[in-house]
Amino acid sequence: MDRIYRVTVERCIACGKCELACAFAHGHPGAPGVPRIHVRRLGPERGIPLTCFQCPDAACAAVCPTAALVRSEETGAIVLLDGHCIRCGLCVGACPFGNMVRDGLGHQAAKCDLCGGEPACVPFCPTQALEILPIQPAPVAAGAR
């Protein structure tokens, strides 16, 4: 976990490329998945990209009856173990932000898993509203030692 996913809402032009990239990255051949990132469109070229915050104390993981939502030590994201999901939808109801969705094909829950560390949406964002950046160590004040 050495990188952080950053969203800069001021840069979003609501083009929706991230939604498409996500749908194709998480789809099956011939059937795009449900996007895990959504743009709240506020007007021409004004939008807010919304995706999972990977909450430290995540409601989705807390309510999952089969412990299917676990934090990946590699990326820091909360990932859904597909084989464990029983499609009860409890996590979708529990997420206060609506960032837990259901994949229309299998009714399975779906969420942003940061694509295992290389989010598919990032290279498609034309304005760098979405970035994946190395975590900067906190600057140490001069003479602090």
């Binding site: 409601a59 009856p65 990946s72 173990l81 109801g93 206060p96 609506g98």
Partner: protein, 276 residues
């Protein structure tokens, strides 16, 4: 009301974190050396190694059950002079230096027999037909059941209902009379209409109807909740009540659909003046 405890992370060795921490044991599977975390089952080790072992009653989210017996494998050890023991791989834990054979003629014979019997019970079920064909059976050698059913008695629906805390359905009777049913075959009072049983059923045997405004399953009718903003109905009122209680989260969380919650979040960010 008491709810079943959630499995602690790592129980059954099924989470990524559990795998990393448990000690690993080395065993041989189909001639390959496989390292598996201690406490996992032969089935999990085989699947992690990319070895295909057929199952019907197994689900990663539920405790192993050993009901379908399709996952049988042969085990042996150095010094057993070639004699084998047949075990159910979904229940048998990995042991160091075990030699596991997942596809011997003996194993195939047993699996073939099970599928032959299942095909007699469920002659019209595509899943069973497909699995039987993979073992060379196109027609059962037994007399096909005069009352074909799609229920393979894998018990997934009843075990899942237990896990979710409703326990509305269970297997009833024994032997040839065994079936999945609500208590006394009456509409189950504990059902909340979540459809988890129908979703998990590998043969889509559990009938339900979910048309706008109402959901019908197991002889009960559940009024649907509508999202107060967009009007989309996405769960039953009983589900919202039960889940709010189970999760300890206010009921309105479950009433609003995910799209409307996202919209509210976006509007909040906009209102905070973060963007022009």
């Amino acid at each position: 009301m008491a709810f079943p405890e959630r499995p602690a992370p790592g129980v059954g060795g099924h989470t990524a974190a559990g795998h990393a921490k448990a000690a690993r044991v080395a065993l041989t599977m189909d001639g390959r050396t496989v390292r598996a975390p201690e406490g996992t089952t032969l089935l999990a080790a085989a699947r992690a190694a990319g070895i295909d072992v057929p199952t019907l009653c197994h689900h990663e989210a539920l405790e192993p059950w050993g009901g379908c017996r399709l996952c049988v494998v042969d085990i042996t050890r150095e010094g057993w002079n070639g004699s084998c023991q047949m075990v159910v791989s979904c229940l048998y834990p990995v042991e160091a230096d075990l030699i596991v054979l997942t596809d011997t003629e003996r194993v195939r014979t047993v699996r073939r027999e099970i599928l032959d019997l299942l095909l007699a019970r469920c002659p019209e079920t595509p899943l069973i037909q497909r699995m039987a064909r993979a073992y060379g059976i196109t027609r059962t050698s037994y007399r096909p059941s005069p009352e074909p059913t799609d229920c393979i008695l894998c018990g997934l629906c009843a075990r899942l209902c237990d896990r979710l805390g409703m326990s509305a359905i269970s297997t009833v009777n024994r032997g040839i009379g065994k079936e999945v049913a609500p208590p006394f075959r009456q509409p189950p009072p504990d059902c909340v209409g979540c459809l988890a049983c129908a979703e998990i059923c590998p043969t889509a045997h559990i009938p339900y109807d979910s048309s706008d405004g109402e959901r019908r399953i197991w002889g009960r009718r559940f009024p649907m909740l509508r999202c107060p903003n967009c009007g989309r109905s996405h769960l039953t009122a009983a589900q919202a009540d039960f889940w709010a209680l189970r999760a300890g989260i206010p009921r309105p969380y479950f009433e609003t659909c995910d799209a409307c919650k996202r919209a509210a979040l976006g509007d909040t960010i906009a209102r905070l003046g973060l963007i022009g």
